[in-house]
Amino acid sequence: MPEIRVTPLGAGQDVGRSCILVSIAGKNVMLDCGMHMGFNDDRRFPDFSYITRNGRLTDFLDCVIISHFHLDHCGALPYFSEMVGYDGPIYMTHPTQAICPILLEDYRKIAVDKKGEANFFTSQMIKDCMKKVVAVHLHQTVQVDDELEIKAYYAGHVLGAAMFQIKVGSESVVYTGDYNMTPDRHLGAAWIDKCRPNLLITESTYATTIRDSKRCRERDFLKKVHEAVERGGKVLIPVFALGRAQELCILLETFWERMNLKAPIYFSTGLTEKANHYYKLFITWTNQKIRKTFVQRNMFEFKHIKAFDRAFADNPGPMVIMPGYCVQGTVGHKILSGQRKLEMEGRQVLEVKMQVEYMSFSAHADAKGIMQLVGQAEPESVLLVHGEAKKMEFLKQKIEQEFRVNCYMPANGETVTLPTSPSIPVGISLGLLKREMAQGLLPDAKKPRLLHGTLIMKDSNFRLVSSEQALKELGLAEHQLRFTCRVHLHDPRKEQETAMRVYSHLKSVLKDHCVQHLPDGSVTVESILIQAAAHSEDPGTKVLLVSWTYQDEELGSYLTSLLKKGLPQASS
């Protein structure tokens, strides 16, 4: 059946883990394999039993695609491939391939070493899982097999994030993962061409928000930093290396220069090395401004930003700013929840004396951004994941009205089926075309024209040819079907006269057709033959034999009913 089926195993009205199953023209693809960060038990993994209860996942799935390195999109990957079992290809971009294992290992360490969890994936499993990865470049068409191909598009959001187009024949689905439609200081904006997929699957976590401008967030950040410095305090910034670190450094450096500030800013060294390394590797994934800067000087050579010394920890007054996500269980997370007393290793209790500011610079698409992306890709239908159905009815209506497409919002485990009408290309023989043209009446571009021919299907090839050619190719003899009908007429005259009457009658009624009276007494209408004969038993009745071929069925039936009505009275 030509249809596309989508089942969210995670996401789909639940923010936490993304994992979507797509079935397209017989191919099965898994989009993302995320971990739900809010649960500590099996609920954090997607329910893979939806895919198949008994069979092997490797046999069922044609490929797995990971959109970016955030754990709610790739956190369950080692569990899925090594503990549940999958040996097929896993596609992701090069930066994602480089960064995923680092995050997975970090997470494993916290879960197992700090929290003491059992039944978690091991470091070796992470390594084995990554061996199955096939890295892709942007806009590169990758053939997964003879029929299935995928292509990655730039998504913004984080380094290496991509949106994927999955195509089988003329059917295609685009999955956005997380994306961002406004460029920031270190990443560009998401972009896709007018690929017109049957379905666009888009994340809609922030679909019901209107985002505060990036400039205002930065302004707030600079304001808090400035105020702390004016008070005589120092600034400490723990930040995820591969996220906003670069942005914030550029921002602060520019600000320090403009305001002529002298206070030192500290940055942890391990962080700068890592960040520097990855940016060097994936410079093409950052935006133009960064690339220009990189050419001129080393990314982390700043005048005012220096390495951090632990001795500063006890001074009263300094402020901590934490952009980004602090994983549950860490000191950072506890402080951001408002805790003012921390129990450290060895039962030591620390008081949180500093002012805490939690800021978010994460880039997601809001309502406006989603409308922009739908406008760019021009899909036939839209499917929203990562949002709450009740709170998205308005957005659904908005999308449906603006773009005249269907909008779906499935829950976890709910399958959405989209009927598609794939176009089947059929070759038409030149002879057949020429014959149609010869019948006069030039083709009208706006009107459909009815053609009669024979469809030959051979080796996934479709051709339309004339019946004669088809018979010839298939080595078959043509059979003719002929119908004969008897019409009884009351007419005492001789057969020849009856035939004459029939001829006159038909000639006057059927002005568009060729009516002829043959020398042997029979009447023809086109290729239909009418003969008059006397009734064997009743001389007052004449029998008309009307005979026609299968091709002239319509005219034949018409003539028969016409003659059954009788002939007009002859004038003397």
Binding site: I210, R211, D212, S213, R219, D220, M259, S360, A367
Partner: protein, 375 residues
């Protein structure tokens, strides 16, 4: 781009807080629901206009530990579609109902915020008595157990319609065809009207039409100078002084005492480039949390805050306490024309926080620093 960055850096001194948003379409509506939600609505003709119920960013709503709340975004709590342009929207207090008005002005539309979904549904319409081609009826709500909708295009067509029964419970009963520019309900029995000419009146609906009114042509009175006027009556009687402010498209601002509308207490010339390019957008609002302060907009891309404490006499030039220029410097859509502020409103209890919207679909929330106050 550079100018915007410069302005933002300068703004560190001028604003405590500053948020800038881009709506999908410009709004002339900023109507509060409680102290955490606002309504906005689009006003284009020939398209489906959105009506949105927005929840303020968490950061602006919490009273303590603001630093622990990173949320700076508006949440779209409910949304609806209007076939006509919406110029004004009023929420019916203690209900889930809204009334909108705009062009074409033959009907007022009543909407309901549904409970179990996020859609704002159209429920009914209220026919306007005298249909006009280019004028739209002003609206105010008498809230009670049986809410009434006060509306009209002119003084002659002013009436109150019971929302539920749709029966008319009050009519002005006069033939005066002066065009209205604003209506404001003051309590269960009184409302104030302001005509486009500058004529003001307070009406008690328990009596036959006998408003206490201003005189149109007295010296220094509004209207004598011509132009188009709008007014607001201050809600709080916190300090003695005039509580009625009337603003003209020529930049003149008069203060009046409601007990004597015939003699303005003071009249000043605001520091604006007059006349206003679109006098329908004029707006003057009293600050609910600051004594004697008011804000004006509708002349350009700014909102100005004035302290009226020491105003007296007629005709003096005054300087604003603060001018919000964000809409000029942070042009959302980078068009050639500078945006015009379409409306503004004060936060119900944060004394120096305002919301302002402009013709480029920008929406700002800002908390200005009083430079004159002693630190």
């Amino acid at each position: 781009m550079e100018a915007a960055e410069d302005w933002l850096v300068e703004s560190l001194r001028w604003y405590q807080d500053f948020h800038a948003f881009d709506l999908s379409g410009a709004t002339r509506v900023l109507e509060w629901i409680g102290d955490k939600g606002v309504f906005v609505a689009e006003y284009e003709s020939l398209k489906k206009n959105e009506i949105l119920h927005l929840i303020l960013p968490l950061r602006l709503s919490v009273k303590e530990n603001q630093g622990l709340f990173p949320e700076r975004d508006f949440k779209v709590c409910h949304g609806g579609f209007s076939d006509t342009s919406v110029f004004d929207l009023k929420h019916v207090p203690d209900t889930r109902l809204l009334v909108t008005t705009g062009l074409p002005g033959s009907y007022l539309h009543v909407w309901q915020i549904t409970e179990d979904s996020d859609v704002i549904q159209a429920v009914s319409t209220i026919a306007v008595q005298e249909k006009e081609d280019s004028l739209w009826p002003r609206v105010a709500i008498f809230s009670s157990t049986t809410p009434g909708v006060l509306h009209g295009v002119r003084l002659s067509s002013l009436r109150v319609v019971d929302l539920e029964s749709q029966k008319t419970t009050y009519t002005s009963g006069v033939s005066d065809s002066e065009e209205l520019s604003s209506l404001q309900v003051l309590d269960t029995n009184t409302f104030a009207f302001c005509c486009a000419s500058g004529r003001l009146g307070l009406v008690d609906i328990r009596q036959k039409w006998a408003p206490s009114e201003s005189v149109s042509n007295g010296r220094g009175s509004p209207g004598a100078a011509g132009g188009r006027w709008c007014a607001e009556v201050g809600g709080k009687v916190r300090s003695p002084g005039p509580s009625v402010a009337i603003l003209g498209s020529n930049g003149q601002l008069c203060l009046l005492d409601p007990r004597d509308l015939c003699h303005p207490v003071s009249s000043v010339q605001c520091l604006v480039s007059a006349p206003s390019p679109d006098p329908e957008l004029l707006r003057v609002t009293w600050a609910p949390g600051l004594d004697n302060c008011l804000a004006i907009s509708g002349f350009d891309g700014t909102v100005q805050v004035y302290d009226t404490t020491s105003w007296d006499g007629m005709g003096s030039q005054v300087e604003p306490l603060f001018t919000h220029r964000g809409h000029i410097f942070l042009e959302g859509n980078q068009t050639d024309t500078t945006p015009l502020v379409t409306t503004h409103t004060w936060h119900p209890h944060k004394p120096r926080t305002l919301l302002s919207a402009a013709s480029d679909a920008s929406l700002h929330v800002w908390d200005w620093v009083d430079m004159h106050a002693s630190s």
